[in-house]
């Protein structure tokens, strides 16, 4: 049971500022995912929360108490490392019980706690093994078990799944989500994989160059990215971007000219946008649809058939766009294709990369995993920008 607050956290290594003033609130029992490209500072931020790295300035508060000068073991946190960081010379049981051994907990009590955690993770038959005799997935579970045993108020996961193969990663993802529900603890999770972020998070924190780009539920980030970076980072395949010219703009929407000359009315707040200006239009591959009378056109360069879906890479005015189409579209490479999109699904970005605000919030934008569990579709009060 714990909340975490970061107030204006700055981290400098020598002259390089890697975290440039981060503010964040993590609610009790929330599953928060820090996501961003490598080098964005997400791991450094987590290490500062853990106490393995000190903050250059700013406050780290756990349950309202300032923790900057408290040692890692006394913050009530447990961390699962990317490399698992198991103690190679100790059995699984000793690995999991090490923290209690250091704390002087009697052996019988230690064993009981370890068994309890081992049961949750189905590790009971492996308790006597050494880490080297375990598979990757089992090592991962031991690392999680070592965290559970400490009964922490906040779990920290530093890219815990990146050393696992694809199939195991999906399985562990599900297991972690189940664990979050079962333990009812606050969890902070670092990853560069936006799919992990989308599937597990209550709240995603998108980091880029040491700055928080956006905080929100997975669906609000997907439907209402605050800027071009978040728009491009969240969603797979990546959002398509191309330049458009403003015809007219106002509080009720922006009229733009698409490449090829067609007009399009995008329902975003266009106050302050001058006619004639160049904006960037963003449409997700899954929102582009092949239509004979489509407003856009191009030539197919690459075609990837996945069975259920087909990715078309289409060259339009020397730009490569991605279209997610039906599994059995009949097109072939080098065919010409016309396509269009629903303007309410489109995003407009100004010269600084900021998104123009949608006039209508997406109904799922405020959906959290909790809502998913209760009853999907019940939307909540707060609409993201």
């Amino acid at each position: 049971m714990a909340t975490l607050a970061l107030n204006n956290i700055v981290k400098r290594f020598g002259d390089t500022e890697v975290i440039k003033g981060v503010n964040l609130n993590v609610e009790d029992r929330e599953f928060v995912v820090f996501v961003g490209p490598s080098g964005c500072g997400k791991s450094t931020l987590m290490r500062m929360i853990a106490g393995l790295e000190s903050a250059t300035s700013g406050d780290i508060l756990i349950d309202g108490e300032r923790m900057n000068d408290v040692g890692p073991a006394d913050r009530g946190l447990a961390m699962v490392f990317q490399s698992y960081a198991l103690y190679p010379h100790m059995s699984v049981e000793d690995n999991m019980g090490f923290s209690m051994r250091l704390a002087g907990v009697p052996k019988a009590q230690r064993r009981a706690r370890v068994l309890e955690a081992a049961k949750i993770l189905q590790l009971e038959p492996l308790l006597d093994r050494k880490p080297r005799a375990l598979s990757g997935g089992q090592r991962q579970r031991v690392a999680i078990g070592r965290a559970i045993v400490r009964n922490p108020s906040i779990f920290l996961f530093d890219e815990p799944l990146s050393n696992l193969d694809a199939a195991l990663r999906v399985q562990m993802r599900i297991e972690l989500a189940r664990l979050h529900e079962e333990l009812d603890a606050t969890m902070i999770y670092v990853t560069h994989d936006q799919i992990e972020a989308m599937t597990m998070a209550d709240k995603i924190v998108v980091l880029h160059d040491g700055v928080v780009e956006q905080v929100g539920s997975p669906m609000s980030l997907y439907h209402h990215p605050r800027n071009r970076f978040v728009a491009g980072f969240i969603g797979s395949p990546k959002m398509n971007f191309f330049a458009v010219t403003v015809v007219s703009a106002g509080a009720d929407g922006v009229e733009v000219t698409l490449p090829g000359g067609a007009a399009c009315h995008v329902p975003v707040n266009g106050e302050g946008v001058a006619p004639g200006a160049t904006l960037e239009l963003g449409v997700r591959p899954e929102h582009l649809s092949i239509e004979e009378a489509g407003t856009l056109g191009g030539r197919i360069q690459v075609l990837e058939r996945l069975g259920g879906q087909t990715s078309l890479y289409v060259e339009m005015e020397s730009q490569l766009l991605t279209i997610m189409a039906d599994g059995d579209v009949a097109y072939r490479v080098h065919d010409s294709v016309r396509f269009g999109f629903d303007a309410s699904r489109a995003h407009l970005f100004d010269q600084t990369g900021l998104a123009l605000e949608s006039l209508k919030a997406h109904p799922l934008a405020a959906l959290t995993r909790q809502d998913n569990r209760a009853e999907a579709g019940t939307q909540s009060e707060e609409a993201a920008p």
């Binding site: 946190l77 447990a78 103690y87 090490f98 250091l102």
Partner: protein, 282 residues
């Protein structure tokens, strides 16, 4: 038809290369080993045979060993050697482990420089500091004491011991120590429960090297000891003094002096090689 031929050529030259390398390795090994072999052989000769034309054919005798035994107590010197070699090694490890820990895990801007400076002290010829150390030892009463010799050997080996431990510690995954810290380990507990068990092969080979270097050291032992604390190197030297040079007795004494360390090295060679190439083969 052509397939086996095309494979035969590189295979043939490869085998020739291997043979050549093997011969070269044997030749080098023989050159290095020959003085030791000659010493052992000479130990079993009579004094006359020892100074006669070098020959592999002679009738072996234990005469020299008996003479050596009769003259002075090998055991006393050997005991000094053991005490000094292991004592200085233990002391060096005790000092070097915390130093290497600090340098490997909490480096500062000056760590690299400090390490190089430490190593540079090994470049100074020991004779350069003989007089000051002799005078200091005389004044504080450390001449001809085991404690004095242990101190000198510790200082002598410390740079190498710190360097070796530093490289082993550097190879230790940081995550494991950090996991320990998250689990509540103090620095001492981190070292005792995690670092030492995991770098034991490296520490063992470092210790072994230090023992060997101390065992074989002659300059300081000859200059700082006379009888009470004299180790085996001084014992060997005593056979080339006033009465003249006795090759056979000298060889017999030398063989006895190096025997223990040779056996120890041979028994632990696997450990040694593993330690010395640790990290290189990861």
């Amino acid at each position: 038809m052509s397939t086996p031929n095309s494979y035969a050529a590189p295979g043939g030259s490869g085998r020739f290369k291997r043979l050549l390398l093997a011969l070269l390795a044997w030749a080098v090994a023989l050159v290095i080993f020959f003085p030791i072999l000659w010493m052992v052989l000479t130990g079993f000769k009579t004094e006359t045979a020892a100074i006669a034309d070098p020959s592999f054919i002679f009738s072996p005798t234990l005469e020299s060993y008996q003479a050596v035994q009769a003259r002075s107590g090998y055991a006393r010197f050997a005991l000094n050697s053991v005490a000094v070699a292991f004592g200085s090694t233990a002391l060096a490890l005790l000092i070097a482990i915390p130093s290497a820990y600090a340098m490997a895990f909490l480096p500062t801007r000056r760590t690299k420089g400090t390490l190089l400076w430490m190593l540079s002290t090994k470049m100074l010829p020991p004779v350069g500091v003989l007089v000051p150390i002799y005078l200091i030892f005389r004044d504080v009463g450390l001449l001809d004491t085991r404690t004095g010799l242990i101190l000198v050997y510790t200082l002598m080996n410390l740079p190498i011991v710190v360097w070796m431990l530093y490289t082993f510690f550097k190879d230790m995954p940081r995550d494991i120590l950090e996991a320990g810290r998250m689990d509540g380990a103090s620095t001492l507990q981190e070292v005792v429960y995690l670092l030492l068990p995991l770098t034991l092969p490296g520490i063992a080979s470092t210790g072994l090297l230090s023992v060997i270097l101390s065992w074989n050291e002659a300059f300081w032992s000859l200059n700082l000891t006379s009888s009470k604390a004299a180790p085996l190197t001084a014992y060997i030297a005593s056979f080339s003094s006033p009465e003249g040079l006795f090759w056979a007795k000298l060889s017999a004494a030398s063989t006895m002096a190096i025997a223990p360390i040779l056996i120890l090295g041979w028994m632990t060679q696997k450990q040694m090689v593993r330690g010395l190439t640790f990290g290189a083969v990861k």
